[in-house]
Amino acid sequence: MNPDATVGIVLVSHSAALADGAAELASQVAGGAVAVIPAGGTDDGGLGTSAAKVEEAVKRADRGVGVLIIPDLGSAVLTVRALLTDPDDLPGPVELADAPFVEGVVAATVTAAAGADIEAVRGAAEEAWHARKL
């Protein structure tokens, strides 16, 4: 295992544009050292989620120290949960965060960039519920 490896992040959204944009924003805020991989839309490019896209994204995000998945809404959560019931095909550990989408990925990516482990990265994402903007 590379001691400098960072936790990877996967963004699962119904919209490819939303996942791509949130990934770009989080990468820029955190300085680019973390793999933030979007998995948005269905396999044919429509609105929805795709287990195949999520699985591929988790493999691309993996650096050997875990991957945190952040879903947007509803069936994104169900798609990830179904995938995690049979994690044999995934690199481990892979965890699902209960977090607001934009704030969660920004907080998680910054924490991952500092070298935190997957539990701390998940904690940062989930604490984002409490961050006030004003």
Partner: protein
């Protein structure tokens, strides 16, 4: 080695998203608790969302403070990140 340390700096630019990210990444690498204070608001410097929530702007005074075994290095790193990151805005 001091267990607590603080330093005040004047922002050269606004503390937008990218500077806040650079600062939080720098702070989170230390064991010490690190805080930032602007006016009457104090936040955890390791939380990028909290740092953004300060809404700190160019010319404001920011106090970086740390408590813990590596407090001195943490404050130095945070001050360096603040000076670098706010040079060009965010």
């Amino acid at each position: 080695m001091p267990e607590s340390c603080e330093q005040v700096i004047t922002l050269g630019g606004d503390l937008h998203a990218r500077p806040a990210g650079a600062l939080a990444v720098a702070a989170a690498k230390f064991a010490a608790d690190v805080s930032l204070t602007v006016g009457d608001k104090t936040v955890n410097a390791k939380s990028v969302l909290a740092v953004m929530g300060l809404g700190a702007t160019s010319g404001q005074h920011v106090t970086a403070a740390a408590t813990g075994p590596d407090a001195e290095q943490a404050v130095a790193a945070v001050v360096a990140a603040l000076s670098d990151a706010t040079k060009v805005g965010g």
